[in-house]
Each structure stands twice: as structure tokens, then as C-alpha cells.
Symmetry: D2
Subunit: 341 residues, 4 copies
């Protein structure tokens, strides 16, 4: 089959023929129809410090996808050939104390598809049946193909107390933009979206942001919209040091900061004034709650209360992966996906 492969420890990806995956008795084989391209894929493409320390070439890249089941292992009971599915990309052991107590999202034995084992930028992928999530008939493969990053956004939003809340979203990459729309659909009273990039801010507006601001305007707008109090919740989606400081500065005392953006290096934090004296709660967001996040996401999509379609701005065939990566880097894109079949 055709697959986009990180062949060796160097920048770039190669589209090439590789053997179709075999499946174990508890796995299913899925014909990939759509696959989302993530910042993580860009890191792997660029072969940066993180990628070179984690990824072992050769490996098929990609971890966000949807498709059709074409083969099921003999032990699989609830997935059938022809099912339209997506999947949780974190393959966990399912047996450790964390997995057995509702914390699979931080299972220490997690293997991520496209990072630790072959991924989904290919015509087929093998997945454990336990990771498969069915798509309702009214959910397109396009939307199915971005369940993974939407799930991050749902996890970030729904582990805060949103109905009636004022929310600042710092960073309007695809996950931040999803989060804006989810906050509105979950009953936030006001959502302020901040980014340096006007294209992204326009998408945030389209997803329902009440205010879109550049970072240098955020403080004034937050103060004005919250009577000087600060927002109840900040969703930090950028990983940018200035935004992290702003998150702590603009959340109200006793408020909550959800951190999903990954700072690339250490940040100097004044815990006394930024966190402790304000009585803040801070939550580090990893992956998606298995499978509470997925159920909530399915509910929001099924009801139509949240529609991520406007966030998908570009579609490419696997053959144009260089262009897909370029578009993401350019900042002109929302979510970029591959159309595979």
C-alpha cells in the first residue's frame, strides 16, 4: 500500500509502497479515508529535537484519521467490516492501575500511532478494537478524521466548569479554534480568543468567539468584559511564554487555567504572585479522557450544537504532503487534512 514514511533520521517524509499491515486477533484493519495533519507531524517532518529523541525510523506517520473497517480479528465482538470509524490514537495497556481507574489518558505505557508505531498516513492502518470509535451516519469522514485534535479541545474545555463562564483562549491554532466553538456550545457566557494571526482570529470569530484580540489587546478586553475581575477560565493553547504569563495574569482569583499548548523550553514563573496568591487551579491536558471525552464529542457533533466544518481549510492528497506541511507552517490554514481514498 501507499504510505507517507519517515524513512530515516533526517528531515522530510517519503511517499512509498509498504506492506499492508497485518492484524492481531484483537485488532481491526481500517481503510483510511481522511487523516488530519498535526503540529506533531510537522515536528517529525522537520526532525527537530523532540522528534529525533522520540521517533524511531522507519515509521508510517500520522495519528488522526477516519475510515472503513475492512477486516476484523477473531476476538473482536463489536466492530464489523464496513463500519465507519475513527480511533483513539493512544494505545494504552488497559491493565495498569491508571487505566483501571479511569486515567488511561496518562497510562505510562502509552504507544501513539504515527509516533511509536505505524500511523495513518497510509491506505490502511491496524488498530486494536478497543481503540475504535464508531461514527454516526451523519458524521462525515472529514469530521471523523479530526476527532483526535477535537478530542483534545473537548478534554480541555469540558474539564473546566463552562456553563455561564467567561473564557479566554490564548492561541487559535486548530485546537484553540475548536475550543472556542466548544465553549460556546457548552454554555460559556463570553469567549475571548487571542492570537497574533488574523486568519486564525477570523476562524475563531466564525466559531463563535465574542471577542477576537491580538495578545497586546487581551488585558484591556478581558478587564472590560469582566468588570476588572479577570476570566473564570483560561485555555492556554499556544505554548508561548508570554501567553502563559498572560493566562495567569488574566484569569480571576480562584480561577482555572487549562494548559494544552506545549512550551518548547522552561519558563520563569513567579509562583507566589502568578499562581499561589491568586488561589489558581492549573490542569495539564494530555490526550483525551478514554472515553468520556469521545462520548461527549459524539453528543456535541450528533446534536449539531458544535460544527467544526469551518475549521477545515485545506485538503490534500498524500502526494502533496510537502505542500500540506508548508501551508500549516505558513499560518494561513485552519485544519489541514489528507484525502486518501
Amino acid at each position: 500500500m501507499k504510505a507517507l514514511v519517515k524513512e530515516k533520521a533526517a528531515p522530510g517524509l517519503v511517499l512509498k509502497e509498504v506492506p499492508e499491515p497485518t492484524i492481531r486477533d484483537d485488532e481491526v484493519l481500517i481503510k483510511v479515508r481522511r487523516a488530519g495533519v498535526c503540529g506533531t507531524d510537522v515536528h517529525i517532518y522537520d526532525w527537530d529535537a523532540w522528534a529525533s529523541g522520540r521517533v524511531k525510523p522507519p515509521i508510517v506517520v500520522g495519528h488522526e484519521f477516519a475510515g472503513e473497517v475492512v477486516r476484523v480479528g477473531s476476538l473482536v465482538t463489536d466492530v464489523r467490516v464496513g463500519d465507519r470509524v475513527t480511533a483513539e490514537g493512544h494505545i494504552v495497556d488497559g491493565r495498569c492501575l491508571l487505566c483501571r481507574t479511569g486515567n488511561s489518558h496518562v497510562c505510562p505505557h502509552t504507544q501513539i500511532i504515527g509516533v511509536d508505531r505505524d500511523g495513518c498516513f497510509a491506505e490502511f492502518i491496524a488498530m486494536p478494537a478497543t481503540n475504535v470509535w464508531h461514527l454516526a451516519d451523519n458524521i462525515s469522514f472529514d469530521i471523523g478524521g479530526i476527532h483526535d485534535p477535537m478530542g483534545n479541545a473537548f478534554h480541555t474545555v469540558l474539564t473546566a466548569d463552562i456553563p455561564g463562564a467567561t473564557v479566554l483562549v490564548t492561541g487559535c491554532g486548530p485546537i484553540g479554534i475548536f475550543a472556542v466553538g466548544i465553549c460556546k456550545a457548552a454554555g460559556a457566557s463570553r469567549v475571548i480568543a487571542s492570537d497574533v494571526n488574523d486568519t486564525r482570529l477570523a476562524l475563531a470569530r466564525r466559531m463563535g468567539a465574542d471577542d477576537i484580540v491580538h495578545p497586546n489587546e487581551a488585558e484591556a478586553v478581558v478587564k472590560r468584559q469582566t468588570d476588572g475581575l479577570g476570566v473564570d477560565v483560561v485555555l492556554e493553547m499556544s505554548g508561548v511564554p508570554a501567553a502563559v504569563h498572560q493566562a495567569f495574569a488574566l484569569v480571576r482569583v480562584g480561577g482555572r487555567v487549562q494548559m494544552l499548548g506545549i512550551p518548547s523550553k522552561p519558563i520563569d514563573i513567579d509562583f507566589a504572585t502568578e499562581i499561589i496568591f491568586k488561589g489558581l487551579t492549573i490542569y495539564g491536558v494530555v490526550g483525551r479522557r478514554m472515553y468520556d471525552t469521545w462520548l461527549a464529542m459524539t453528543r456535541f457533533l450528533g446534536s449539531g450544537q458544535f460544527d467544526p466544518a469551518p475549521v477545515i481549510t485545506h485538503k490534500f492528497p498524500l502526494e502533496e504532503s510537502d505542500e500540506a506541511i508548508r501551508v500549516i507552517k505558513s499560518g494561513e490554514a485552519g485544519k489541514v487534512i489528507f484525502e486518501i481514498a
Copy 2:
């Protein structure tokens, strides 16, 4: 001043002149502009068993209102003459362990205006400054006058986990109808409203109910809309025995039933099959959380994400109280309010 008074231990209310209330140093005097009429007022009007056991005539009736502050006591620091306000009608001691730990709504020393001391169906009412809640400029007195019952609805809805939830509301009196709209505004994925009365169901639909059903259709619709699982949350707003049983029957295993409707007599409950084996959580709703509920309500109204205006179907002067009571009893009304000045 003019006031609607329960003069003696018998049915009916009398509009008469009574002395204007005096205020203590920690109280304010409010000129009442609008006052909501509640089922409780109907009980007092009818002088039923509950009313005759609780209310001590003579007393000015009414506990839902909004108006303008016309006098403030010498110790009052944060309310000023001219302020547009409503108020929490439960006057609590503020000093017991329940009040000091966030449970004022169940303070054992609660006095309710219009029930235990003079109420708001009058030109003026004296209120402790601590009970006053300011109205934003864009909130009308009409809406201000129904904050008390809306607050019950917000308390009922927001103490459940609503974003993404499927919800059944049994009973579409005014509080039930408010609850429908609040559920939608708070991110419920599907709200099914049940009542015997088509006028009320039409209001529930107007407030956003996805399905409106008669009680005998509720089971089929719940099953169909939840893939047979049952709803995540039931809001029991009727107090009708059949609806209480239906609440336990149609909530999913592990689900939550919020009970606000007051059954008039005991109900035979099979705890084993209706509650325990299903692993349910049941919550009895009293009043409004002070003042978390009020803050949330203010946020929902201020943002426009919830607009209760359609629920107000009738307005009367105090002089037409008999007609107001009649309309409520007829079942043809949503929320009925008095226009006082």
C-alpha cells in the same frame, strides 16, 4: 401603601391600604415594579393544608419581585437609592454552620418573604441589603421580577452535569419551561419536555425543547432518542407521582434525578429497582444557591444565551389578582406577573 394581603385564615386575598414598611439599619426599602405570581401564592390564596399550617395572617403575600431602591439603612454600603434590583426571598441567619459553609439555601432559620414575613405584592418592600441582587441595565423589570423562580430552574439545571447531556424535563410549569431553555443554553445535547398541557408544551418548544411529549409518549421518545439507554439527567418539575416514577424509570443507570416538584402526599417507591439497582443520584432542590445561582443567572441573562421573555404570558395590575390566580389555575399561562408601578 397598597398591598395584597392574606387577612385571615380563609381563602382569598384582599387588596388594601397598609402602612409602608420601615427598615432597619441593614435593610433597604424597595419600590416594587414587577412581581411574579407563584404556585405558592395559589396555595396561600386557596388556604390549603400547607398554607394554613405555615402562614400566619395578616401578611402581605408575594416573594418574586424587582424594583427600585428608595431608601437605604445607615449600615448599608453597597446598595444605593435608585439602584435597579431584585432580591433573594429567603432571609437566612447568615451565621449558622450551614450559612457559613455555603449552604444558606437550607439554613434552618430561613424566613421567606410573603410566607413568613411581609412580601412583595405591594408598592414597597423592606429587604436586608445582603439579599439584594443588582440588575444590569439591559435586564428589564419584567425579567427582574421572575429571578426567584428562574433561580430555582438554574439551581436545578446547573447542579447537574449538562454539557453534552440528554435531559428529560417532567412538568412544564414556568420553572420547568425555564429549565428547558437553561439546559439548551448550558449545552445539553437533547432536551425532551413532557407535560399533559399542550400550551405549556408549546412554550417548552419555544424555549428550545428538541422533543415535546405527553407523559404517555415519554418512554418511547426517550428510548428512541437515547438508543434505549435512558437520559443522563431528569429534571422532575411536576410533583406528580406518575412523573416521579417515570423519572426513575427513564433516567439511565448511573444517572441523576433533580427533584424540584413537590408531591402533595407520600409516594410508594420501590427503592431496589427504581433507585438502588440503577445506581442513581437524586438531589432535592431547595431555593437557590446563595449566590452562585444568582451569579450564573446574571451571566446567562447578560450574554443573551438564555432569554426567558417568552415564558411571561400574562401581566395584571394588583387589582386583578383574582384573575391572575384564575389564569394560573387554568393551565393556559406560562409565567404570570403583576405590574405594580
Copy 3:
């Protein structure tokens, strides 16, 4: 192998030779060393209305046990021959939305060993590997054999907010007595245990109850020990109608009632005064949270902060099952277990 069997639809149990269970690839075979006898087993022995409606003879009875693993299926990765184990007796599908979102304890497809499929009053039992829970070296088989009912008690206690709480336990059968000790170990400030049976009250005292009372003394003692307020939490462990009413009466306003005791028939409840006006939360306890309850139980036992040993008052071989059942019915016993090998 030797097993205690409900042979036909009539009272009694028969000890007889039956074939040793075979195991599937994802199961393990466990040599049973100890097995607890539960009220459920008494119902099956007596062949009462519940038993005759649920149990399909012939079946090996018993659902509480500990033992040694003697065989493991080919797909089992984390259980080994020789492991000392107990097991969750609720066999769930693991794939429904409830199981996938942390609510396996109410999985609608639950099969209970000894009720819906062959149980543990036998020399061997086959169990899915996912249900197996390892015993630490310092946990005896006696204690291992009663993890199931202790787990019910842990579930009941730990889903309330116990540190610093005042607690009333109504009903001091084995699970109630366990709950007394768990409450104390979890930081309850005062535990009042109520029962009609002085032997059971003596055990409750032994497990740390601050006050032991007959039901007719409960109100006076609760009032005295809580300054008239009522207890923060009631654990209703009896299923007796008078105790259920007492639970609602003696919990404080805004308090919590955990219901585990199974009333045998409907109870007339005045929701208005018993539940709603008090602002109560009620929780129906089913089984054990999988596997949060099990982890907590392991922690409490491993640290020695909770020691259930005094609750085990009688041990019998399988041959003396009639006597075991008689002792339980007599009310003279705490926990009764079978020593099997």
C-alpha cells in the same frame, strides 16, 4: 471437583461433584481457598421470590472468594500461575458506553458469578483475567475472600465526603460493620452505628463506632452528638423501611444518604418533607467502582489503617453449608466464610 450447587428450583443447596471449569483464552482458572457467604446466597438457598425470578438452576453458587491461579489462557498477560488473587464478581461487557466511561458497575450486560453463571463455592472457578485483582503478600486468603462485600462498603463510604464528617450507619450486617471501620479509617469525626442486634453492635464497636445504639435511641444520640443538626452522611445498610425513614430524618439539611440496603418492597416516601425540602443528595450503591474501589481497598488494607479481621466470626468447610446458612440467619454472626482448601 466438589461444588455447592443449586440443583433445581427449590430450597437448599447440594454439595456434589461437577466438572472442573474450562477457561477461554482470556480467562484464568483459580483454585478457590476462601469464599464468603452473602445474604444473596441465603436468598438463593431459600429460593425466595427474587432468587426464583433470577437464578437458572443448575448453577454453582457463591460470588465472594480468593485463591490461587492454576491456569491462564493464552491471551492473558498480567496474571500468572501461582498468583494469589481475588476477583470482581460482576462480569461486564467492557464495551458499552457505560463501561467505556467509568460506569462498569452499572453495565446493563452484567453477569454475576454464582447468580448468572457458575460461582465460587467450589474447588475451582474460571474468571476473565480482567476481573482478577491481585492480593498483596500481607493480605491473607481470609481477607481476600471477603473483598467483594468490603468493596461494597468502600464504595458506599468513599463516594461520600468523609474526612471530618459525622456519620450514621443504619444496619450492622457485615457490610455495615465494614463501613463503620472504613469511615473511621477515612477520617470521619464521629460514627454512630445502629442495629437491633447487640452482637452486631458489639462488632461495630470493635470496628471503631463511637456510639452504638438501638434504632429507637438513634434520634436522641444523633441530636446530642450533632448539636441538633443531624449527621452529615447516613449509610443505609439495612433495607428496613423504618431505617430508611430514619436515614432521611436524621441526616442534616443538605446532607447525603448512601443507600445500599435493599428494601424487599415499596416504601411510602414523603418526598417533600423527607428529601426535597431538606435539600438531600441520595446515592444508590451498586457493586464496586471498577476499579477505583478496589485500589482504595487495597491501599486501606495494605497500610493497616483498616483491618476487617474481627468481622469474620465463623469459618466452615463446604460440607457444612447448612450450618453456615443457619448461623447467618440466626443473627449471631459477623461475616461467615468457607474454607475450601
Copy 4:
């Protein structure tokens, strides 16, 4: 009256005669019997950067105390002359949205006694009646005098989920040592206490620490006692940068870090690896929850399940304040208190 006063903007405190405080109608006058000395007092004594930026001399210092009520204002209803009391030292406005929604501990208008207005190192102190907390007869003035710092410890401990938890306490000053004992009383399964000071570690052991370790041993002990997983909860009570990093390193994935120790300057944090990828929750502890913390503290002390007496190692008259400060700085003390009358 006699009072310990920060007279001018320079190091040191002066014992001198000052006028007895007058009280407002809603205040009470308390004859101080015991007063605890806090690290904050040391900062004020030393006149460090924080103190000189916040404190406005002349001011009576001290914020932890207990005593007897000797006068009550005309509006005070629930405090009487002769009452044995302590008090919350944070004087809040009681009217802002934070105060009205259960977040008084972070009220932006907080005035702290002994910091922002006259404190308790004096024969008498005036306090708002709302801040007064009654002492039960069996609670000594010694213990009453340290409710403020114990309250910080209770707040820190009880906002985590402690029953059955493994806990690491980094920093065994008085609040850390209190926290050790509270954790044990609240059902922690294992408490590991870390400090550089053996005197403090001995006190931590006396309060129930299962393991006492120097910081360089903490990692090994945590790993051994938690099967390599890390502790469920870290209470960071030191403010030392190395301890903060250790807190994030030794808490398990998905765990919780409660931060009370105040770092004196910014710390370089690698959010990616220290917080986000671990899925941590971090909570900044300010003061005491009003008055949930106080009620819980009263319950723990009243039942005897927690006894802080061993932590009080030194008592001085006000005349020996220099020695009191010296002892605290020396590290040889647990809790130091003034005996005033």
C-alpha cells in the same frame, strides 16, 4: 495596653503601650490569651522586601490568636462577653462576587490583621463578629492560638482527595507538620515527609509520618513506597525551588500538587515535562476556606482524631519577642507562641 509594634520602616519590633482598640457596632473586643508567631511576622521583623512593600508602620503585628471576648458591639448577635474564641485573620468585604460565591479566601479587598491593620500581639484586639470562631470547651487557648496556620494546613490537605492516598509533604515547618498529622487523620495510606532539618523531621514523625526523609532521599523512598508510580498528592510547603521541582517529579501522572510554600523568586519550569505531559492538577493555597476549613478543623480537633499539641515547642511572653524570632530562625522550633495573659 501592651502591644508589639512595628514602629517604623526598619528591622525590629517594639513592645510599648498603645491605646486599647475601640470597636464598631459589628465588632467585638477580644482579650488575647495566646498568639502564634508566623514566618510572616519574621518577614515583618526583618523588614524584607515583601514587608517594606506591604506593611505601613506604625502597626501592631500578629495574626494568629485566641482569647476571651470582653466587649461586643450593639449589632452583634452571636458572640457574647466571656466567649472563648479565635478568629479568621482575613477581613474580607463579604459583598463582592467572590465572597458571595464561596471564595472569600481570595476576596480582592482582603485586609489581614497584623499586616494591613492592627494585629494580635497585644493585650486586646478588635475583630468583626463575622470573623470570630468559637472554641469548644475542650480546646485550649494554646491550640486556639494556632488555628490560623492549622487552617492553612487543613485547607491544603482537605482540598485534595486524601482517603487512601499516598502523600509527599515537602517542607516540615509548622504548617507542613500539621499537614502530616491531618493527612493521617483524614485517611491517607502513606505520608512521606521531607525536610533538611532533623528536628522538624522528628516532629513530622511524631505527628504520624510513615517515612521521614531528607530531600535527597525523597525520590528513592517515594519510588519504593509507590511501586515506582509516584505519590497521588504532593503538599509543597517549603517554597524552595528544588522542592517545587521535586513535587512535580514525584507526584504520579494524573496526580495533584497543592502549593502553599511561597517561593521568594521566579522558578524556571519546564511545563511540558513537569506539568502538561503528566496531566497534573496544581492548586494554589491561600488562607482558609471561609468557613468550611474552620468547621472541618473544629471537627478534627473535637473528636481528638488530630492533636497538634506536640507541634508547639516554645512559649514566650511578649517581652521576649526577639528570642521568639531567633528560635524560629534557628530551625530548632516547631510552632512558637506568645502567652499574653
